[in-house]
Symmetry: C2
């Protein structure tokens, strides 16, 4: 099979493609080719038996989507997005990339006219929700985003459900928790500090905590994110029915609990590298974000995540740091 990964140079895309390279197959079907599209060139995964192609293009430019699906990939994993902070800072860019780009893709598929009906996995976000919330957000809670990013994700979910219902493709939107611990350098996501305060101290570097440690949030590891994508790409979607946007499972905890988990796993010296520097802009954005979920539907459909923040930190140390860290 041929798999197209949009946003393939990003963290989730890279890890998903590395996993495909390790597995060699997806849902029992051998993988012949993976195409990774992004605005920068994606790196080829090590040891892949499949053909790998990196395409540098901008999905929000008319005509690019048609080119990307010209070879009719059976699976399209759409991870490409301007992150929340950037979409809030640059209104036009956010709508262009996150909404128009996605719509161009969906339209390109619809207009092939040759019976092409790929599986489309779209990564949405818990940013489709906006405060105030109940203690736990249930599967039927309404989407009232408080950011343009969340608005764009919610709109794309609606489009995906309608295009799936009309039979143009077979899609699923999966609402990622905040992915933690994100490897690599900080990006422009307002949620970055949730990872920074774990990743940087484990590397011997100070990290800034811009919010109160009583902020509660919803996390899953990069490893879980890849598992979500694999499951969404291979599961039977007929049982999902027409409601094609799912809250993924995750783990809810406060920043204080994150810090205590770090202390337990890595010790006081590592925790001492977290510096408190309140940032009212970040604080205001995060205030509107969801804190906890009751994702019964996704769990019943076979999606799985971590059950403690210790586990999330240990996965980071195992997958990113070769099992060790700076004490």
């Amino acid at each position: 099979m041929h798999i197209l990964v949009l946003g393939g140079a990003g963290m989730a895309g890279r890890k998903f493609i590395e996993r495909l390279a390790r597995d060699g197959q997806l849902g029992g079907k051998p993988i012949a080719k993976v195409t990774a599209q992004d605005v920068v060139a994606a790196q080829a995964p090590k040891g892949a038996a499949f053909t790998f192609e990196a395409i540098v293009s901008d999905l929000s430019v008319p005509g690019e989507a048609e080119t990307l699906i010209a070879s009719r990939p059976e699976l399209i994993v759409h991870l490409a997005a301007v992150v929340s902070g950037e979409a809030e800072a640059d209104f036009e860019k956010g709508y262009k990339i996150n909404l128009d780009g996605t719509r161009f893709l969906f339209e390109a598929i619809r207009l092939t006219g040759d019976g092409y009906k790929p599986r489309v996995v779209f990564t949405s976000s818990v940013a489709v929700f906006g405060a105030p919330f109940h203690d736990k957000i249930g599967d039927e809670f309404f989407t009232t985003p408080l950011t343009s990013y969340g608005t764009q994700k919610a709109i794309c979910e609606l489009l995906l459900s309608d295009y799936s219902r009309r039979g143009f493709f077979d899609g699923l939107s999966i609402r990622f928790p905040t992915i933690c611990v994100r490897p690599g350098s900080p990006n422009k996501a307002a949620s970055g500090f949730f990872s920074n305060i774990i990743r940087e101290p484990l590397n011997g570097i100070d990290a800034v905590l811009p919010v109160s440690d009583q902020v509660r949030h919803w996390h899953a590891s990069p490893r879980s994110a890849v598992n979500f994508l694999i499951h969404a790409a291979t599961m039977d979607l007929a049982v999902v029915g027409p409601r094609r946007a799912l809250n993924m499972p995750g783990y809810s905890c406060t920043v204080a609990e994150q810090i205590e988990a770090l202390r337990k796993v890595a010790g006081d010296a590592v925790v001492a590298r977290i510096k408190r520097v309140p940032d009212p802009v970040i604080d205001k954005i995060v205030e509107g974000w969801p804190r906890n979920f009751d994702p019964q539907r996704a769990i019943a459909l076979g999606f799985k995540a971590e059950s403690s923040f210790d586990e999330i930190i240990r996965i980071h140390i195992a997958d990113e740091l070769g099992g060790t860290f700076v004490k």
Copy 2:
């Protein structure tokens, strides 16, 4: 003040403009001008003290929105839409008119760059919801439309909330119940029969009932629809906060209860003009529609509707038939 009504030649637009002509003011402000835009020419209301202008244009053509707001109307009431049956039959037309047209309007307002910040009232629909439902749909229930029309309305609601949050205009989306009894000829809305089975028999004409009389639905009169628009145009929106889509109040009843109300108000001979001709296409569409609501927020914010179907029929006889009907 200057009021722009998009879709001003339609039923709700016409009735809203007639009401403005009778009142002469809106929220205590004298009305200087009403512009009614539509794809056909809107009729001037009788006895209006304000200047009336009818513009024939297509909002989904780039540039038209800019022209329509060139004179900076303080209030824009956006009623223009391709109805549900048509948006389902013609996928491209539905998205072009119902989504792109609305987005062009919102973008035109955003891009004025001169501090223009009108009130925007957008008529959405209970079609943003899709079955299965609980007994009554609450204010926090999620939008999972089962039609392209409902998808387009839900997307426009999200855009309106985001543009309002960002301060580009001050908007409110109001989700109309099915408006019953619709005057005039049947339109392409799949919900048309709810009105046809009342209106046609009262005119001495047979009407087709295409669904089971156990179908339950959510109604409000055209008079209430106008009241919703007036209230949405004049109320304090600061108290609404960022969740700018509201379920309007209405009256829930089965088709059997509609028929019994007709019998009570108009007699057996009128009811005998209803002919049962099942239509599986209509049946399938209606199956996914909401039946009942608990619109606490809208009621608390001062929106009002009917409390019986008798009342809905009597309003129709009073407002449309001069107080009489064909026995």
